[in-house]
Symmetry: C2
Subunit: 340 residues, 2 copies
Amino acid sequence: MKKNGIRDVAKMAGVSITTVSFVYNNPDRVKEDTRKLVLDVAKKLNYTPDFNASGLRGKTNLITLIVNFNVDEQSHPTISEAIPHISKHLTALGYYLIPFFEPEEKETMYLNSIISNKQICGSIFMASKKNMKLLDLLIEKNIPTVVIGDLENYSNKVFCIDIDNSKEIKNLVNKLYKLGYKKIAYVSGNIDYIVCEQRLKGYYDSVKENNIHSPIVLGYTEDAEKIKQDIKKLISNKKDIPDVIICKDDIKGIYVISELLRNNIFPGIDIGVIGIGGISASEYIYPNLSSLSFSIKNISKLAVKNLNDMIINNKIISGQKYIKTKFLFKESLKEKSINS
Amino acid sequence: MKKNGIRDVAKMAGVSITTVSFVYNNPDRVKEDTRKLVLDVAKKLNYTPDFNASGLRGKTNLITLIVNFNVDEQSHPTISEAIPHISKHLTALGYYLIPFFEPEEKETMYLNSIISNKQICGSIFMASKKNMKLLDLLIEKNIPTVVIGDLENYSNKVFCIDIDNSKEIKNLVNKLYKLGYKKIAYVSGNIDYIVCEQRLKGYYDSVKENNIHSPIVLGYTEDAEKIKQDIKKLISNKKDIPDVIICKDDIKGIYVISELLRNNIFPGIDIGVIGIGGISASEYIYPNLSSLSFSIKNISKLAVKNLNDMIINNKIISGQKYIKTKFLFKESLKEKSINS
DNA sequence: CTGAAAGCGCTTACAG
DNA sequence: CTGAAAGCGCTTACAG
């Protein structure tokens, strides 16, 4: 019942321990036949390298996932949905994932220790708040890192993946003006979050350029109740009712739809509502939420692919990669308008 | 810049390596003064034990989280919401979490290897599908394990935490009959999932006992479209319209509300709708979804607490722990009825 | 209460 | 292309 080690494999295959190790870590240095033989024996003996021992010698396949948002504060469906995908892709490549949530004082300590002890070989950093202490640490320690987020200031230091927040929202608003919408409001989230700030900027940019009306921004919060209050106030003044409300994310779009319905204003008929994200929940509700959507699955896949490349090639890459968005037309926006 | 090891701490503190190690692993065997001294020096030198080296000697603080559902198939908000909480609680106790999703062939192999190599000290198993191969493996290998789920057959082997699915749903239906509802329908999920089977049983049990009408069960699927079709069919026959529709989970409750609204039947006025879970989404929608709710945060906390106890006391505990539910009255159910 | 020493299972520089 | 051997940073049985 004792577990088989590298020694057992070597003995049974009639080769040295070194050779067995090379099969796993330096396959080019082993003759094809020998390699096959060793792998066969390993399989027979149910052998897999002990990762503690490998780790002790400097080899590791642990990846940290750092999520710098507070799970208690709110739900982040996009992020929650990404984790399983990231995990699956990493596992398929032989890595193990250790996720860290809400890196406060204590967790920063753990991470520091893991990083200093070289117990991780890479990191995926989910940018959300503006606190970049941990990202700075990862960069300083030369840990291969991929950021999921749109961080201009960091794109020369790490590899970032996201949609082009400001530009995408600006384009969306521009498009709506072109389609004939005269008054476009925007529901922002808490601008302590980078993504909220960026998307809001996109809205401002378009409104100013088009100069048809002044900016109408509400929310500035993640709190559903406050958003609903803002919506109620917005629609109470009949003259002020906009043609379309764009929401910083789908969840807020759902809040808005709920509140409009409650006040007998029908989304898609009386007023257009648009979310951002394309999460599955946007199809649960009635009327279905139109959304500027992007694939979180795709982002996850790209993040893992790029991270793996860095690790394999032992070369840290930087830059900003933007993924495409796609406008999903649903019931909450008048068909004639956006479809044309 | 070289990282400080146990040797450096020992030297600076003027004690042996053994003593330093004891401070971390066997504090009782070290004099109070010595212990403090060592800890001080460790702090000064920024020392934390290398977990690869500890692991190699048999000590580990890695916990696996095994999620046996397919993330591609559907979203499981309850499970997704639990992960950050589990992670946070574990980290606070000094453990690291490695989550595995969808344990198919390959991942089973990885897990097998991790388990055999004694690289984990415990596991949290999220029961969902009926495939218990990995749970059997954990039990066979004597890995301290906590199951999040209601597994009658396993409660003598592992510690399980969940709500008492069958009984809770049976009680709920009983209560509704007592309140005067005459016809109660149930939207089930795919009964390949244990939880779906159990909750459905609760519904059947109550319907049979009360014997007011025959069971009306729809869905049997996780597919929103199919559920919506079923609902449409159900309400198309005016005579068949039930007083209340209970849904296996909140997500399905949201599907049902959407479809009812689309057909001009107003939830909470024309018909009652109830979900199970109490996820945040149930408050996003209009009308708000009434729900038999329970705290996933609480389940997560209890799971970690019990797991830690087992590891600390080096003793595997079994049994089934049920947590309480609370009926949350919202707009989707007539107030007079359930409030009384 | 404390220490010297063996050894966990690997990787890799070095030698051939 | 392959092997003997050092050593990664710890834990713990043993001795005192």
